[in-house]
Assembly symmetry: C2
Homo-oligomer: 106 residues x 2
DNA sequence: TGGCTATAGGTAGCCAGACAACATGTATGG
DNA sequence: CCATACATGTTGTCTGGCTACCTATAGCCA
């Protein structure tokens, strides 16, 4: 799958993946891969800037910890992020309906 | 709907809309609006460059005509475009499945 | 007559965002 | 001792949709 097609939808996916439990960047990449059945294999150059963007936007909160000698920055969904996720889900439903509708006989 | 979410999917929509009958740019904009229930209202600055891109890529062929004193450039799906459309439909199905799957409980 | 709207085509330049490539460092297993 | 997995980041590039702008005709209404 051309991961570039994600443009504009990546934020939603990240928010969704940290919805139930906080995760650090590396774990988010793995979670996205797992949840997509291996279709998504996002490079760090995509995910880390996205996480910073989402934190800056107030949708994620981060905190540092150390596990097994390695530093981790764990991201957690804020309440604003929870609201944003709900909105994004709604927008996705509309978008998917529109595209499927126009493509027709898919 | 944030029309910017279209990134990477617009080409498919255009190809789909000229699949059954050739259309000119202006008519394509209207067809997309109609087929999407008014959700899509694409500016000419989006559609015309896209049409040129698709023609350059060999997916569309164009021809000029004059109707009611107005010049029209009509675009028609080429055989390569037909193949591309089929591929895009398949990719869309995968993409939609992946995003819906990751978003979960939508 | 003048002006507005719909029809029809187009370009130039901006900007967000996903990516490739690179840089850094630790832990573990062979 | 070296490769691989784990873990975080930055820089610079490029695609592509958008805004804003420009040109031109036909038809309608005042």
């Amino acid at each position: 799958m051309k991961a570039d097609a994600l443009r504009g939808h990546l934020d939603s996916l990240i928010l969704a993946v940290v919805e139930k439990q906080p995760l650090h960047g590396y774990a988010i990449i793995e979670a996205l891969s797992a949840r997509s059945g291996g279709e998504l294999d996002l490079p760090t150059g995509t995910i880390y800037p996205a996480l910073r963007r989402l934190e800056k936007a107030g949708y994620l909160d981060s905190s540092w910890s150390e596990v097994g000698g390695r530093k981790r920055r764990t991201y957690e969904l804020s309440s604003a992020g929870r609201t944003a996720l709900a909105t994004h889900r709604q927008e996705w439903r509309t978008f998917a309906k529109v595209v499927s509708g126009v493509l027709g006989e898919a």
